[in-house]
């Protein structure tokens, strides 16, 4: 089976859907042995030092892979242990999925209680006045007297 593997370097988090890939090198060959497509071990014969590569794409399988381990079998022969990156592989399909967001950096409801927020033991106390002071009347008393109807005007 004609076989092309493209090796990449990436610094992206493993749990990122769309990873930034750099330093691509494409290697062609033939797949001679049985192979698990989600976690294959593949022998690569190349004069290029691939020890610093950590990601790859196998067009035949239509999948992106993390390089879990690289073994130098002998001069120019490498064995790489791969694991399928399902997020990158199905990136386009995942983005069409509708989900119920539990937590998100971009879309959230700030009024929902968030148990992951932490607070200090002390608190912030503020006072605000109504801008009014009850001042004792300096020059007046309120006098209430018994009265009669006729002068109650």
């Amino acid at each position: 089976m004609a076989f092309t593997i493209i090796l990449y370097k990436t610094t992206a988090e493993n749990n990122r859907l769309n990873k930034t890939l750099t330093d691509a090198i494409s290697l062609s060959g033939t797949l001679r042995e049985e192979c698990n497509i989600t976690a294959p071990d593949i022998l690569i014969e190349t004069s290029t030092n691939i020890a610093m590569y950590n990601y790859c794409y196998i067009e035949t399988f239509g999948r992106y892979y993390f390089i879990k381990n690289i073994t130098s079998v002998r001069n120019g022969l490498w064995r790489i242990s791969l694991k399928c990156d399902v997020l990158m592989t199905y990136n386009a399909q995942i983005k069409t999925l509708e989900c119920i967001v539990d937590r998100s950096s971009s879309n959230y409801n700030a009024l929902i209680h968030d148990p992951e927020y932490m607070m200090q033991a002390n608190t912030r106390i503020r006072t605000k006045t109504f801008g009014y002071t009850f001042q004792p009347s300096r020059d007046a008393y309120v006098l209430t007297v018994a009265s009669t109807y006729y002068n109650a005007t």
Binding site: N15, R16, T38, C84, V86, L87, Y90, Q93, I94, K95, T96, L97, E98, C99, I100, V101, D102, R103, S104, S105, N107, Y108, N109, A110, L111, I112, H113, D114, Y117, M118, M119, Q120, T123, R124, I125, R126, T127, K128, T129, F130, G131, Y132, F134, Q135, P136, S137, R138, D139, A140, Y141, V142, L143, T144, V145, A146, S147, T148, N151, A152, T153
Partner: protein, 575 residues
């Protein structure tokens, strides 16, 4: 703090501006327009200012008002930035000739307060219906900021445009207040949704004929949303909770307090006066003048009712209010029953009076759940009553108005707290709280131990209040005691010395708000996200995402891969 005032021509080609450093600036519109240096490239003002801008925090409490003297309170802090603009339209026939702008920092509450007044040719404030519109396009609500609140980006400042051909008629107006870029110099939030916290829903009565440059007003209007704004899909489902009979009626009936219609004063059996210490002394001296034949006749006549004429005095009280707010009649002689005491005083025409204490806007501090119970607590201190707990759910985002109803006959008072709130699911304008107290301090009148009671009352309660008062009244009481003390048995007409403690305590009503202090790492929102519970298509999201539930059956992957995908999406991924 530098302040900027801008005016933009209708076609958007010219702009006038000036900066001022004083607290208040009044400028004539025409002069301003004609003499200022035109500047066609107003985009220059997209650049950050040079260092002396005052930076603000907490964008929750920009107050919107429909009055032309609207106040915008912006809490001050040294870390953030805000630009806020005001649009208005003069619907009166009076041309606007001057603009008076005041931006002041009040050290008491650490707020900036901004007021705008439109003045006529005589520099008289134009009153009438004005539509004011506040937007703050460069402000990101605090809860949308990164945990370290570094993601502020100000792209443009503000634009002011005449709304009609007459430049003095109406126009947009703005203040320029500094800029700050995100730490990575990129806009982090494209949703510049502005919130009118505590002030209700956005206006629908605004109209506008702006045809100039920059953005059409609709663009700004589109940014303004009600408070708080639920993200898409986050609203309460109408078909799940509450059963089939739900109508989700969010309206409220206003609850107000009717004024007391009649009181004891109205029936004429008692009469209440506002009397000065001097007149009080005249009255009491007259009542002790036993050479006065009319007094003797009076005493003979009232002997069937009272032991002495003092008995006809029901109470003398000292109140802790400004009597300029109390309805009183013109001065007249004070009568005890039918006896003219020769003293003059102003009758208080209503037994009950209302003392308006003022209003406070209760704005969200965080703009999120931390502003509500159990995290935030609020209490109110009421002179003569004490400290009372308030329900934060009821008052957050509202304008609370405090007033006292006072009974001048007894000194009893009831403090009412009106809550006006139109935010989210709540529409209130009601007196939700009332508390009872007594704000009067009785002056004791008695025949027994009179010297002691009068001395205590005057010495402890009124000392320092009024030298003139203590001199006159104290002198009188001494004489009164000498004259009547031996002749009368102990009888208290108006006894208890109530309210004196309140007189010696804090007499400023205030609220106390206790907020938590959150401790959030700088990159918390990026790495962990914030709580959602929203339906969304994953591709429309960005940054960290943790799904509560997701259907992955439409993906053409192996079962193991689907299981892994599900675990990843519900465990947290970066989109």
């Amino acid at each position: 703090m530098s302040k900027g005032l801008f005016l933009l021509s209708e076609d958007g080609s010219q702009v006038r501006w000036f900066f001022f450093s004083t607290t208040t600036k009044t400028t004539k519109v025409d002069d301003w327009w004609n003499s200022s240096t035109p500047n066609e490239n107003y985009d220059n003002y997209a650049s950050p200012n040079s260092g002396n801008e005052s930076l603000l925090e907490n964008y929750n409490s920009l107050k919107f008002g429909t009055s032309i003297t609207s106040l915008f309170n912006v809490p001050k802090k040294d870390d953030e930035t805000v630009t806020f603009n005001v649009l208005w339209q003069n619907t009166t026939s009076v041309p606007i000739r001057y603009i008076k702008v005041t931006i002041d920092h009040t050290s008491g509450n650490d707020y900036y307060k901004c007021s705008v007044e439109l003045l006529d040719e005589n520099k008289t404030t134009i009153t009438g219906t004005m539509y004011a519109y506040l937007f703050c396009r460069d402000v990101t609500p605090q809860y949308m900021l990164g945990p370290s609140r570094e993601y502020i980006y100000t792209s443009f400042t503000l634009f002011i445009a005449p709304l009609t051909d007459d430049i003095s008629d109406s126009f947009m107006f703005g203040f320029l207040r500094g800029h700050k870029l995100g730490t990575d110099n990129e806009t982090q939030f494209y949703d510049y949704t502005m919130y009118r916290n505590g002030a209700g829903k956005k206006s629908t009565s605004w109209f506008y004929n702006y045809t100039g440059a920059a953005y059409p007003l609709s663009w700004y209007l589109g940014m303004l949303k009600d408070t708080p704004s639920y993200p898409s899909g986050g609203v309460e489902p109408t078909d799940v909770f509450g059963g089939d009979e739900n109508n989700f009626d969010t309206t409220s009936d206003d609850i107000s307090v009717p004024s007391p219609i009649t009181g004891a004063i109205d029936n004429g059996l008692v009469k209440t006066y506002l009397i000065s210490p001097t007149q009080l002394n005249i009255m009491m001296n007259h009542l002790t003048d036993f050479n006065n034949t009319s007094l003797k006749d009076f005493l003979d006549n009232i002997a069937m009712l009272y032991n002495n004429p003092i008995d006809a005095i029901i109470s003398i009280k000292k109140f802790c209010i400004d009597f300029s707010e109390v309805p009183i009649g013109s001065a007249q002689n004070v009568f005890l029953l039918t006896y003219d005491t020769q003293a003059t005083a102003n009758p208080i025409t209503a037994q009950y009076g209302r003392i308006d204490v003022g209003s406070i806007d209760i704005a969200e501090f965080f703009g999120g759940f931390l502003d509500y119970p159990p995290y935030t607590r609020c209490s109110i201190y009421l002179p003569f009553i004490g400290e009372k707990e308030l329900n934060v759910q009821e008052i957050m985002g509202s304008t609370i108005h405090l007033y006292y109803m006072v009974d001048f006959l007894t000194g009893n008072c009831v403090a009412h707290l009106n809550v006006e709130k139109s935010a989210g699911e709540t529409n209130l304008n009601s007196d939700l709280y009332q508390w009872e107290g007594n704000m009067a301090c009785d002056v004791p009148l008695t025949g027994t131990d009179f010297h002691e009671m009068a001395g205590n009352a005057l010495g402890n309660v009124f000392s320092g209040i009024s030298n003139a008062m203590t001199g006159n009244i104290g002198g009188y009481f001494t004489n009164l005691g000498s004259s009547f003390g031996a002749a009368n048995t102990g009888k208290v007409m108006s006894g208890a010395i109530s309210g004196s403690s309140a007189l010696m305590g804090v007499r400023v009503p205030y609220i106390k708000i206790e907020n938590p202090i959150q401790t959030v790492p700088d990159n918390f929102q990026d790495l962990r996200g914030l709580a959602g519970n929203i339906n969304h298509v994953i591709g429309d999201l960005s940054g960290f995402l943790r799904c509560r539930e997701v259907d992955i059956n439409n993906i053409t992957a192996t079962d193991d891969e689907k299981a892994e995908l599900y675990a990843l999406l519900t465990g947290g991924v970066y989109v």
